[in-house]
Amino acid sequence: MITYLEAIREAQAKALADDPRVYIYGQDVGAFGGAFKATKNLAQEFPGRVLDAPISEDAMVGSAIGAAIEGMRPIIEIQYADFSTPGFNQIVNHAASLFWRTEVKCPITIRLPSGGTAGSGPFHSQSMEGVYAQYPGLVILTPATVEDAYSMLLEAVAIDDPVLFCEHKYLYYHLKAEGLPTEALPVGKARIARQGRDATVVTYSAMVHEALAAAEELATEGYEVEVVDLRSIKPLDTDTVLASVARTGRLLAVGEAWPWGGVTAEIVARVASEGFELLDVPPRRLNAKNTPVPFHPNLWGTHRPTAQTVARAMRELLQL
């Protein structure tokens, strides 16, 4: 068995082994192996290529851009997605615009440990993909499975554009698989995680598992719900989403991020404008509550969608 976190580690090991241009830079990634052990032993296996960075997200990302200009393929580990904001400027104004302004590619990968776990609180729990998705020039990946954590990270390093790899902290040790995949869907294709016929739930990352659990519950009530795992936010595989809604006529977009705008709003906007006539009921969204992420598990437990709230939202949709 291999965990989601170990898959990330394995992908980084393979990237380092296969390409001398790859290096890893982040707080505590060296001898310590990373705050979540995502780079465990890599500093020893690849001396001089897995380096501890000072607490300077701006400089980490800025230096990655310079290194990329000169031909390297850096992987930057930001310790928590929440801490990417000090480096926000370098990501959205420098990395994302470099190719468009200068025709020089920027093949950097920034790993953002995202999402909440009970007790992590407002600044160790955020899902930032919607914020970054606003900016052109970025590729944003949100793996929900151990297999995708592995194969999409490898592809991220291979992509010549800046990639934000939004790995989910809750899935690190809670999600396990038999082994690493030998093949994978390419970045840009969504996956039908569960086939259905009565309604479509479109989601990504940890929420895929909540949606699957909710769909199991609905199955006992006679409804077959289709779950679409987006896998990547940018690009967003609208074709797969539309095809699913064509089959079911009902759409629920679920996300762990806050309700204003964001990924779920983007999904609904696309379906409403390009697939209006596929809808038998108004499209719905389910997001986190409109407050910072709470600390106490009681509050956290209801702050973002759970299998129960997803099931409830599905039922409402099915009974319209």
Binding site: P54, A59, G62, G71, H94
Partner: protein, 340 residues
């Protein structure tokens, strides 16, 4: 009247570099005067930012660097860019918005460069380019390439940014061959030094970062060539990051849209207010490295060079929105074409 009298300088340059630097300074000055004029003639969109007063410092840096080095110029580095090898057409094309320029109309004025040729293209957020240069130097190290220097120039205002701090700190930890020139021209737009930092002298920060630091009187080309040249040499010789704090006065507005009425006359008339170009001309004449006729001849030739470049570019096409691919990713198949 500014005191342009020659004083015996502690720095003595050789004739060739001094003369060459002066030619770059002259070209930068005349080019920028032309750009300012075009701006006031409605031919330039956005802003024009000139480096009047900073040419000696900038030319010295550009000349000290070698091909293969990395240079991230900022707003007032026209002389340095030219000295480091920028084609004058790149500058004119970017300002006039020609489709044939390096930025192809996607960015303008000083936001230009050719990154893979060592000329990094700045983003507007001050301080951000320093870490990019650091990264470029780290890459060289990973690649086993030695002897590279990375240089960038920033203003007194930018030293207040977090990105300046993080980048210099990172350069020091990584012991990178970075040359960071702080052009303290006394004002960040309209903000004087007293509202920008509280330490006595910016060079005092070098100790805090664990790097070597020097100051230079940037009104004197001799001093600039000496101090900047030695900083570059020390960086190249693995002495770690070099901080050079240059003192001068900005002799123009923040941009051509600004009349700099907030700069007190006393400052303009003090020693720091001297025009480095005029000072250099006096030195050339005094040392008989050039005659008045030479100066006039160089000036005429340079004016012609500038006029030619401008005339050429004015005939060139502007970007066409209908032929743009409007794609910000290099990996075309990952561009989400669903959104328009």
């Amino acid at each position: 009247m500014p005191d342009t009298a020659l004083r015996v300088s502690a720095h003595a340059s050789a004739r060739e570099p001094f003369t060459q630097a002066y030619r770059w300074m002259l070209l930068a000055r005349l080019l920028e005067e032309k750009l300012a004029s075009l701006y006031r003639g409605g031919k330039i969109n956005g802003g024009v930012f000139v480096s009047k007063g900073q040419e000696a410092l900038s030319a010295s840096l550009g000349m000290s660097l070698k091909k293969g080095d990395i240079f991230a110029p900022l707003i007032r580095d026209q002389a340095g860019r030219l000295a480091f090898g920028e084609n004058i057409l790149d500058a004119v094309r970017t300002y006039l918005g020609s489709r044939l320029g390096p930025m192809r109309g996607r960015d303008g004025n000083v936001h230009r460069g050719r990154p893979t040729e060592g000329h990094y293209a700045m983003i507007s957020h001050l301080g951000a380019m320093i870490s990019a240069v650091c990264g470029g130097l780290m890459a060289r190290r990973f690649q086993g390439i030695t002897g590279t220097v990375g240089a960038t120039c920033i203003g007194d205002g930018a030293t207040s940014t977090g990105s300046f701090h993080e980048a210099l700190n990172l350069a020091a930890i990584e012991k990178l061959p970075l040359v960071l020139i702080i052009a303290n021209n006394q004002f960040a737009y309209s903000t004087p030094n007293t509202r920008e930092f509280a330490c006595e002298n910016l060079v005092d920060r070098a100790i805090g970062y664990g790097v070597e630091g020097q100051t230079v009187n940037a009104t004197e080309l001799d001093a600039c060539l000496d101090v900047v040249g030695s900083a570059v040499a020390r960086a190249r010789d693995s002495h770690g990051p070099q901080l050079v704090v240059a003192n001068l006065l900005r002799l123009a507005g923040h941009g051509e849209h600004d009349d700099a009425g907030y700069i007190p006359n006393a400052l303009k008339e003090s020693a720091i207010g001297r025009d480095c170009l005029k000072v250099a001309e006096c030195v050339l004449l005094e040392r008989e490295w050039a005659s008045a006729a030479d100066l006039e001849c160089w000036r005429e030739a340079t004016v012609e060079q500038v006029e030619d470049a401008v005339a050429t570019v004015q005939r060139e096409p502007a970007p066409d929105p209908n032929t743009e691919n409007w794609c910000a990713l290099s990996t075309a198949h990952l561009d989400d074409t669903f959104i328009h």
